[in-house]
Structures are given as C-alpha cells and as structure tokens.
Assembly symmetry: C2
Homo-oligomer: 169 residues x 2
C-alpha cells in the first residue's frame, strides 16, 4: 500500500531490502538519545535494524521527493486471544520534525491496521515527558488508558512515568 | 535461590534442563484453554517451552514433595530506560489450585526481583475475567494502573478488558 500524504511529493510505502541504511539514519539518533524509546542506547545498527524490520512486523517508510524522512512498524501486540490489537512504533528524522510526518504515518497505520482486521491499536510505553507525542496521539483518537509509575529512566529527567495509550479501530 | 514455602515440603527452585515435560504438563492445559494468557492456543509443546524457558528470562518451578505444581518466569519488561521494571508470568497445575502456590511464587518473584535490582514489577495483560488472579495480585500490593478495552477475546465470554497491574519494589 502506498499512500499520498497532504504534503506534495510525499508517500508512505513498505520498507524494502535496500532501505536499511536510510532507516538507520533515522532510528539511530533516536535510539542513541534514549529519551523516547525503551531500547538499549548502545544497540548496534545491525541489532536495531533486526528489531525494526523484524519478521513479526510490517515496516513502512515515509519518502519525501526520494528521501526517507520517517519510518514505522506495525505488529500484533499480543498472540492468542489478544491478537486483534496491534502495536506500532514511529520515528521521524530530526531534520524533518514538525512537518506532520508522524501524524501522516499514524493515519496510514490505523488505516492499514483496519484493512488487516485489527480492532484496536495500543502503544505500550509512551514516555510521559514526550509531550508532543502524547498530544499528537491524543489528537488522533488515542486515550491514555494506563500510567506506569516511574517506569522510564530518562537520561536527563530521571525517572518519569510511561503511558499506555489505546484507540479502537 | 531456593525458598521454603509456608506449606511443608514445598520449595521454589530454578527450572533445570530436565523439567521441560513437567512444566509442559502445567502450562499446556492453561495455553490450550486460552482463558487467561494471550498465547496461541495451538502452540506446540516445543514452542511453549521455548517461550516459557526463553533466554531472556529466568524460570522457576514450585515443587511439592518432588512433584512440580507451579512455574513462573521473570524477565525485564522493557530494555534501555525501562529495564528497571520486570515482568513475570505464573501458572499452577489445576490439580493444585487453591493451595497458595501462585501467591508463594509471586512472593518469591518479588523478593528475587529486588535482589536483582529491579524497582518495579509489571503485569502487562491480566485478563479481567480472571477475577481470582486480579484479587490475588491486589492482595500482594499490585495496583491496576491500566485498562485495555476489549483487548482479550475469551473463548466463552467474548471480548473482555485486560488490565495492566504494577507494584513498586
């Protein structure tokens, strides 16, 4: 599935086998910063790509005039009786921040998830200090359904809460 | 670490390489029933044991006069900035239900988690219809910190909520 975004020349398409280096240029700095994702900050590029492009998920990239500016994955959040709820992770290049790329990817993901038959989407661990992300997900219909007390150790803020967010599809 | 339980002759010890068949006799019926864990009901014994005894976790068994009557695992719930919170899963043999084995395993796990330096324990997906488990975890200091609407499809009850439960350590 490709998808025209509001921005001209932008599209979202499945990640291909050659997209690894471009995806790493986006997710690497976010992982190294350690402020928004509960991933080991010292993951190697190989480990990070194995995670982001894992066999248990579909991975997409947002492309702007041939340049990859964002990426997300979609997977089942649980197995068995929980497999009708999916989970996504989104990252954008810091240079492209504020241009609506995360919003476009989230809209793309909810539409794709509905096509796949999912009935809900859950974010398991939204760091509460990531206020822009929390506001964005809320504006897209996600509710805060849980609060994990001091569950994230932020590199500069110390222990902060993490949020569980959910929206029906 | 082994641990004397209130019940005479009972102890909790790390699972060994020969415990697979006994563990499967406990977790197999629970997985097949599909009422309390978000695991594929048709998992093979091999898949189930690979999950329950995975490299990312420590697995224990509760033994009563030489017979394994319960088992649990303990692992980090997240990586990176979330690695100070652990996660556990517990199962007891249906024949031994009501004898305090799950309670004893949970107490063992919180003590062991503290020894390992964890600062909190989180259950990501407690099926709300499993009222005995919810009450047990509450009696052991866990709070309901999240509610996932209709996130579990119960084989007879249909879609029910799942709960996120948490306790500081």
């Amino acid at each position: 599935m490709t998808w025209p975004l509001p921005q001209a020349f932008m599209q979202i398409r499945p990640a291909g086998t050659n997209d690894g280096p471009a995806i790493w240029r986006i997710i690497g700095p976010t992982i190294r910063a350690g402020e928004t994702y509960a991933l080991a900050r010292d993951m190697t590029e190989e480990e990070a790509l194995a995670y982001w492009l894992g066999d248990d998920r579909e991975t997409f990239v947002a492309e702007d005039a041939g340049e990859i500016v964002g990426t997300y994955y979609l997977r089942a959040n649980q197995a068995g009786g929980g497999k009708h709820v999916c989970n996504c992770g989104y990252m954008t290049s810091s240079a492209s921040s504020g241009r609506g790329i995360a919003r476009a990817m989230c809209l793309h993901s909810t539409e794709h998830a509905r096509e796949l038959g999912y009935r809900g989407m859950q974010f398991n661990f939204v760091v509460s200090s990531n206020v822009r992300a929390v506001a964005l997900w809320q504006s897209l219909g996600f509710d805060i359904v849980g609060r994990l007390p001091k569950a994230f150790q932020h590199p500069s803020l110390g222990f902060v809460d993490a949020l569980v967010m959910f929206r029906p599809l």
